[in-house]
Structure formats: structure tokens, C-alpha cells
Symmetry: C2
Subunit: 129 residues, 2 copies
Amino acid sequence: MTRLFLRIDFEPSGSALGLGMVQLLEGIAEHGSLRRAAAAMGMSYRKAWLLVQSVQKTFDGPVVTAEVGGATGGGTELTELGNTLLKLYRRVESRAADATKTELEQLSGMVRATAAPRRAGKRKRTTKN
Amino acid sequence: MTRLFLRIDFEPSGSALGLGMVQLLEGIAEHGSLRRAAAAMGMSYRKAWLLVQSVQKTFDGPVVTAEVGGATGGGTELTELGNTLLKLYRRVESRAADATKTELEQLSGMVRATAAPRRAGKRKRTTKN
């Protein structure tokens, strides 16, 4: 399987929408909480919070609702703008994949069959004796 | 202007072809030298060399010719496989952009006009008084 990962850059603002942001927004939609969305991705709360701030600054309106209520309460949800963003990003992804099937198959056919993280003769971090 | 940046992931090998690699290969084609290609990108020679090693391991054959001759001599060129890779990647890029014009324009219209690294009222890391 060959997969296409996309980052959309908005020039000249210098801002971007990438897969990490999109996955975090999807997590928020699923879990109803930034903290739980971050945990589900194995991302620190701080990093998730910064990502959300950056998305909020990029777009013309709030993308998620404010989290209120401290450690247990509150919760975060996507706004209508946030939902639209997600839908558009995923549509870009699927249209791009459809339009490039032939080339992706050609590239995939050029990949070394044995190209794997583990290679013969190479061991996983052994301690020196 | 809205731009699409692509990374192509080859599963299950875990290897990928991204913009950094592609730009380095283009630099090698232009400069005929890994060292000069790295310098033109503001990339360290070591990082460029590692990137090339990773591309070489990913594909089913050499992507660049070996650099021989030390600090001044030698030189590196793309192989036929390397040239084909580049051509395919750029074709994926342009087809994906063509296929997603409508969505990219919609997204672009949702970006905050004033979204810039510097914002009014926000100062660069002030110390607490």
C-alpha cells in the first residue's frame, strides 16, 4: 500500500494545515476533550494545546470551543468551521489519491522489496559485552 | 496562494519519499555534486548524505551515482532511476493540485486575512516584572 500525506500551506500567511492537526481535530470530535484526544494520540497535552492554538490563529474564526472546568470537567468540541475544515481536508486527500493512482503504483513498483526497518545482520540495540 | 506538499509513504516497508528528498535530488541534478546541492539548500553535508542513503535504501537500485574523489573532486549525478523518481513525484504533485483546486480555494478562503507570525498586542517573550 502506498499512501499520500498532505500538508496544505497557506501563503503568504505562512500557516499550514497538516496531518497532525487534522488527526488532533478528529480526536477532539471523537473524544469531546482536548486532553483525551491528546492522550489517544500519545501526544502531550501541552503540544496538543499549542497545535490547537496554531489552528485557531490560522483560520477566520474559532475551530474548537473553549475548554472550561479544569482537570475533570469542561470539554472541547469542534465548531462548524472545524467540521468544515476536516471535511475539506479529507476530500483533498481522497481526490489527490484518486488522481495519482497510476503514478503511485509506478513508484510503489520501484521500491525495494526488502526495504524494511529490520535488515538481516542488523540487530535491535544489543548491549556491548 | 495555497500549496500542497506531499509525502508518499510506502507500506509496509516504512519508507517514504518527501519534499526534502526530492529537493535534494533536484539539487544534485542541477549542481552535479551532493556537497554543492546540500550547500544550496542550507543543509549540512552530513544530513544530505544521510537523506541520500535513505533514498538509496528505499528504491530498487541506485538513485545517485557514487561520489568519488574527496573534497574537490568526484561529483554525484542522478541515475536513470533517480530521474524517473523525480519526474513521477512532480507529476503526482501537479495532478494532486489540479484535482483539488476547488477544495484548496475553499480552504484558502477560510484562512484569517491577518494570520501572520506577528500579531498586534503580542510581544516577543517578555520577561515577567
